[in-house]
Symmetry: D2
Subunit: 103 residues, 4 copies
């Protein structure tokens, strides 16, 4: 039986073959990440999320599918993902730790 | 019903909290990627694979679990993943295209 | 003569060989990025900046040097960088475009 | 006075606004990286190089400039870069370490 694995992650999608302007494709991902309960936070180079590994990557797959459905023949995505077994840590915890200069 | 989605991907795992030398953790991922039939190709900044989205990310998850089992309390991973609907393209095809100066 | 090249970028530094907690190393980068006038915005998976290519990468180099000086024998960093010739675009412009569902 | 900083790095360039096929742009980077003496090794998700920090990032900048000159209005690039003070390590050393299951 598979154990749960809580992760924090960042996704940055680049639709290719649709011209220089890609924001409407990126915007289409937000409701997917929200509906999956992943607490998405948009920034200028991606969107940060958090949740179970399987939920996170099922939602990322749905982002690819949706961007293809919107007309992009190719999608290039970069992802960062982190897991830890020593303690729970949310995306906000990570920011707070840096602001405090410790972790 | 979920349609198949063939992808090429790159994974680069960084175990944290285990000292400066991490190769044995990286080495432990190889049999996982091979057993999953993902055709892994190791390079100096990661391992390239190819296969169905769900198979690729299930194997990546297993890499995280295995690295934790080997004693790393924290794993930071970067992933690139690409899908295209216009035609099939393997990792070797991508290299061949650049060598030919076209795609 | 080298022309100016304005870029937006994201940096995410991972000190290795210093244990599982790395926030004080990440925190040491902020004053470097601020002093360089790069308008840093911290998020949970990195810091976004903007400025001239040479200024951005000189500051990123100084981050590596500082983290080594603080005692980390190894630093692994991921960077995203974007340039465009069609128009100027700040990090805030990018976020605004996605919120507007266009670019 | 600035000390030398030897790094290994990976660059993956994505020209945007030029259609779905981007290999000729990627191919144009190779002679730049070779002329800079960075020992480039192409793989399916980027090119690995090694050299002094300043030489590496001057060459990466020249890649952006060249891709723009070839007609791409926007370039999105992901970079990994590593430095270490405990010992010298080339890209080939990194691969050998993983194959040996140690570092």
């Amino acid at each position: 039986m598979e154990l749960p694995m809580k992760v924090t992650a960042e996704i940055c999608v680049i639709p290719m073959g649709v011209g220089v302007s890609v924001s409407r494709y990126v915007a289409a991902c937000r409701p997917i990440l929200e509906a999956a309960g992943l607490n998405p936070v948009l920034h200028a180079y991606g969107t940060n999320v958090e949740g179970e590994w399987d939920d996170v990557f099922a939602a990322f797959r749905e982002c690819h599918e949706t961007i293809h459905d919107l007309g992009a023949p190719r999608v290039f995505t970069t992802i960062k993902v982190g897991s830890r077994t020593d303690r729970a840590q949310s995306n906000q915890d990570k920011i707070d730790s840096v602001h405090a200069g410790r972790e």
